[in-house]
């Protein structure tokens, strides 16, 4: 059963507002002139995304989003920025020479994703029952239904991890 799109429910309004925050801060990430502020706008973007997950009753994913992306990934980026340059104020050389092409690619990707999603789901409607996004149901579907992709991804991540260590360690020499 598809409920009417108008008038929107409170959930839909909150979801839309959060999406606006996410998209807006994502745009600010690439347009701001201060490197550290860009990282902080990324935090706002991830936070809004976590809020979207919460509205969709995916509690586990939402808090993991905060824990991993806000709490670890961006902190690592800030670390990288501060250990290398710790820039203060505006940075002049932040604009890439490829920015027109990059914008085109980004727009094209967005267009493809939006068409696929709209075409694939059209008027499908998922009822937002609390509990469907809990740790239990998520764990069940990952480790029962999707266990092979999960393991393949784990191996891929492990390989990337070891590769990063090998590249960053200068005391490990390659074979002559």
């Amino acid at each position: 059963m598809t409920p009417a799109l108008w008038p929107p429910t409170a959930q839909e309004i909150v979801f839309l507002l959060l999406s606006v925050v996410a998209v807006g801060s994502a745009l600010l990430v690439v347009t701001t002139r201060q490197l550290v502020h860009a990282a902080l706008w990324l935090v706002a973007c991830f936070g809004a995304l976590a809020g979207c997950y919460l509205v969709l009753t995916a509690e586990f994913v939402a808090w993991v989003q905060v824990l991993i992306y806000v709490g670890a990934v961006v902190v690592l980026m800030l670390f990288g920025i501060m250990l290398t340059r710790a820039p203060i104020g505006r940075t002049a050389d932040l604009d890439s020479g490829n920015r027109v092409v990059a914008a085109l690619v980004a727009l094209a990707t967005a267009a493809v994703l939006v068409t696929v999603v709209i075409d694939g789901f059209r008027s499908a409607y998922t009822p937002l029952d609390p509990g469907t996004g809990s740790a239990k149901s998520l764990g069940g579907s990952i480790f029962r239904t999707w266990v092979l992709p999960f393991e393949a991804l784990s191996i891929l991540l492990l390989a990337a991890l070891i590769g990063a260590i090998v590249i960053s360690r200068t005391d490990i020499k390659g074979r002559e």
């Binding site: 550290v36 902080l40 935090v43 509690e59 586990f60 808090w63 993991v64 905060v66 824990l67 806000v70 709490g71 670890a72 902190v75 800030l78 670390f79 501060m82 250990l83 710790a86 203060i88 509990g131 809990s134 740790a135 239990k136």
Partner: protein, 456 residues
């Protein structure tokens, strides 16, 4: 192969406490009362906590501590707080104004939020409304606590960066690196608890600690301890270490190592309420990790053994007292550790976090998980797999051990050689010699090529 374990149903003459279903029915005013109570509890707790710490550590060091303001010096912290509030608010000229202002807020607010999922007691009747003594609970409450801790890191990084001071930025990087590393070990030490409790909700974890069940060995039923601190003691010990590291307390208080840094990430917050916010956040964080330790490992608000024999121990308002007692004891443990241990070096801290705590934790989780798997299905296949895992782990361990031992011996030999060389020619930068580039050692510095560090 059915000799191992049989799950025992919870007999419990007393109910194990509220579950997730009991939450979300509170009228708004009850929630407001609970939130205000939490806030007041934490604020008064910080005031009393600072006093308790200073008084206790003084007695441990054979001195009196604060004893002028009020009876037993009880008003000392209040006086300090008032002084902080009345001081001139200095804003260094070149700081990033917004972030400089926001950093203390970012560090303090998540600390308070984390307390909203800590259970203080069972369902009680509050002004005629049945409600659990806990602000709220989620199916993933413990994740919320971890997420709040990871947001608090931003306060540290941004305080350091926004101050525009090299000391502050170094202090900020050091302390956030420490908090991030110990957070991983902390998260891993919860995994065993999740495996045993089967839930991430704090109220249900407390309920699961009502009764330990038993371990059936043949016809013999060995009762298991109910507190996870005893049942999962490696997890608990690791958690205790990480909670010291996570809150930047002795012996991991490097962010404030006064001998090495000027003052750490809050160097430029010299006065006023912003500095008070950092202190507040530090103590609230101590209460949060103590509360989590109580909830996840020490039976939460449930009465400890001799008291639990009394039927009324786990009903009504009494459990709040047991919870508070456990919290105070844990806080005293923090003080005791501070009075006894020296500060570790930074590389020791990182080495300990990454190379000792995390691998130990992973091995322990593997063991607990295998044990749980046996409980579900003790077919020969699982047992064979377990044996392979154990043998493989031992093999990897011994291999690393021999390699490390060899490397250590090599290093020691190298160092001894270097020491011999330095002893022969002290002028080559050896020891123990005075600083040879001082003005009155004319000519003695020829061998030394020291670089001047220009002050910006």
């Amino acid at each position: 192969m059915t000799f191992l374990v049989s799950p025992v149903a919870n007999p419990g003459p007393t109910s194990p406490g509220p579950t997730l279903a009991d939450f979300g029915h509170d009228p708004l005013w009850i929630s407001i009362i609970k939130a205000v109570f939490l806030f007041v509890f934490l604020m008064v707790g910080v005031l009393m906590g600072v006093w308790t710490e200073r008084k206790l550590i003084s007695r441990m060091q054979h001195r009196y501590g604060p004893n002028r303001a009020g009876k037993f010096g009880l008003l000392q912290t209040v006086a300090d707080g008032l002084k902080m509030g009345l001081k001139e608010d200095l804003m260094p000229r070149k700081v990033d104004k917004l972030l400089y202002f926001l950093a203390p807020v970012i560090i303090a607010v998540p600390a308070f939020l984390a307390f909203s999922v800590i259970p203080f007691g069972p369902v009680v009747s509050m002004f005629g409304v049945k409600t659990p003594l806990q602000l709220t609970d989620l199916p993933v409450a413990v994740l919320l606590i971890l997420a709040m801790a990871s947001i608090g890191v931003y306060g540290i990084v941004l305080a350091g960066w926004a101050s525009r001071s090299p000391y502050a930025i170094l202090g900020g990087l050091r302390s956030s690196a420490q908090v991030v590393s110990y957070e991983i070990a902390m998260g891993l030490s919860f995994v065993a608890v999740f495996l045993y409790a089967g839930t991430l909700s704090t109220s249900e974890i407390v309920a699961k600690q009502a009764d330990g069940g038993s371990f059936a060995l043949g016809s013999l039923n060995i009762p298991l301890p109910s507190w996870y601190a005893v049942l999962l003691i490696p997890s608990f010990l690791i958690y205790v270490l990480t909670m010291l590291g996570e809150t930047n307390r002795v012996p991991f208080d490097l962010p404030e190592g006064e001998g090495e840094l000027v003052g750490g990430f809050h160097t430029e917050y010299s006065s006023s309420l912003k500095f008070a916010m950092f202190m507040l956040a530090e103590y609230v964080n101590v209460f949060v990790v103590s509360g989590v330790a109580t909830t996840l490992f020490l039976g939460g608000w449930r009465a400890p053994w001799p008291i639990s024999l009394w039927d009324g121990a786990n009903v009504g308002w009494w459990p709040m007292l047991w919870f508070f007692a456990k919290l105070v004891l844990l806080f005293c443990f923090f003080v005791w550790v501070r009075a006894s241990l020296p500060r570790v070096r930074y590389d020791q801290l990182m080495h300990f976090g990454w190379k000792v705590l995390i691998p130990l934790n992973l091995a322990w989780i593997l063991m607990v998980a295998s044990f749980r798997a046996l409980r579900v299905d003790n077919s020969p296949l699982v047992i064979v797999l377990m044996a392979i895992v154990v043998v493989g782990a031992l093999g990897v361990y011994f291999r690393f051990d021999t390699v490390l031992q060899r490397r250590r011996e090599q290093r020691a030999a190298q160092e001894a050689e270097e020491f011999d060389q330095l002893r022969d020619q002290p002028t080559a930068g050896g020891f123990p010699v005075p600083a040879l580039d001082l003005p009155h050692y004319h000519g003695a510095t020829t061998g030394l090529n020291r670089k001047e560090v220009p002050s910006a």
